[in-house]
């Protein structure tokens, strides 16, 4: 005999449980956690290389790097004097359990701020709660003005959207006004910054916003 059973189970419940555990672990140690997400090549590592020395004036930092292969990114972070742990995974995103495994490597001397550089992917990482305090979507302007409407979830759930590679705008055929309007449409409440991580343009405003948010998180 066939029988229908009501289940009402969130599919990602297991990840959500791990994320809740992460949140508690971070809170007990006073760590503010920032998850940076973007498509591949948007400039996550470069943004970190340029932002870490500025944030580092106020807080001790460490970075979890996620990539399919190589520890090239962790090496780049270490070169600016910041501790880094590389995760290599064949997954298209980081999940809460992988992040805890990496965070525990800093247990002996925990940082005040932990950055997570997610796998380069504008879709999948948005579905996975890592127990972080802030979600940041990084987007390079050359990816096109229409993308926030095509991939709304990641923009929508981010506390902050950083538009990178502003120095390439004159060569890109992308209208910044149109891109800003599309970000604003799908994600009314995100803070938005336009920067060039390479030239340093706009970095100070983004770092000041981030430092302010980190201060508030750590005061809780």
């Amino acid at each position: 005999m066939a029988e229908r059973i009501e289940v009402e189970a969130p599919v990602l419940r297991k990840n959500d449980e791990y994320a809740a555990g992460n949140r508690q672990w971070f809170a007990e140690r006073g760590i503010a956690v920032v998850n940076i997400m973007s498509a591949p090549g948007a400039g996550k590592t470069t943004l970190l290389e340029k932002s870490l020395p500025l944030i580092g004036e106020r807080y001790s930092c460490a970075v979890i790097e996620g990539d399919l292969q190589t520890d090239l990114d962790a090496e780049r972070i270490r070169k600016v004097g910041v501790r880094a742990h590389q995760i290599n995974t064949t997954c298209c995103h980081l999940d809460a359990r992988m992040v805890m495994g990496a965070a525990e490597t800093f247990e002996a001397s925990v940082p005040e701020v932990l950055f997570i550089e997610n796998i380069g992917n504008l879709v999948c990482p948005a579905s996975y709660d890592l127990g972080e305090h802030l979600k940041v979507t990084l987007f390079s302007v050359v990816e096109g003005a229409d993308k926030p409407k095509k991939y709304p979830k990641m923009f929508r759930m981010s506390d902050c959207v950083v538009l990178n590679k502003a120095d390439l705008l004159p060569y890109s055929g992308v209208a910044l006004d149109e891109l800003l309007a599309n970000v604003h449409d799908v994600s009314p409440e995100s803070a938005v910054f336009t920067v060039s991580a390479r030239t340093g343009e706009g970095l100070r405003e983004w770092v000041d916003w981030l430092a302010g948010r980190i201060t508030r998180i750590r005061e809780r």
Binding site: E3, P10, C92, S127, D185
Partner: protein, 115 residues
């Protein structure tokens, strides 16, 4: 794409229900899938079919698509944003809250005994 991992999670939930209720087979799994869940229905269906195992090795996946529904907490007006996905209140100009369309939930399973 993460649809493979999501299909595996759905199958784990379905197989656990069969074990919990002492049933031999899962005939059907109904999943509510929001249009803004970030999950591609076709990719999920494909992954589910490939990964089906255990009591759910012949299960059918029923996807209930949920369109985006947003509410203005000031005007209490509910709207279904069109393809342009403007998530601002047309009346008062304040940001809208998405109240439906982000679902990724196993709603129910149909379980069967052996013949």
């Amino acid at each position: 794409m993460h649809e493979t991992g999501i299909a595996a999670d759905i199958l784990e939930i379905a197989n656990a229900q069969a074990a919990l209720h002492g049933k031999a087979r899962v005939a059907e799994v109904t999943v509510r899938l929001g249009d803004m869940s970030g999950v591609v229905a076709e990719a999920l269906e494909f992954a589910f079919e490939v990964l089906r195992d255990g009591a759910a090795s012949k299960a059918r996946l029923e996807l209930k698509r949920i369109p985006v529904l947003a509410r203005c907490n000031v005007c209490q007006v509910e709207t279904r944003p069109g393809a342009d996905l403007i998530l601002w209140c047309a009346t008062c100009g304040r940001p809208l809250k998405v109240i439906e369309g982000e679902e990724l939930t196993v709603e129910s399973v149909v379980l069967e005994d052996d013949e």
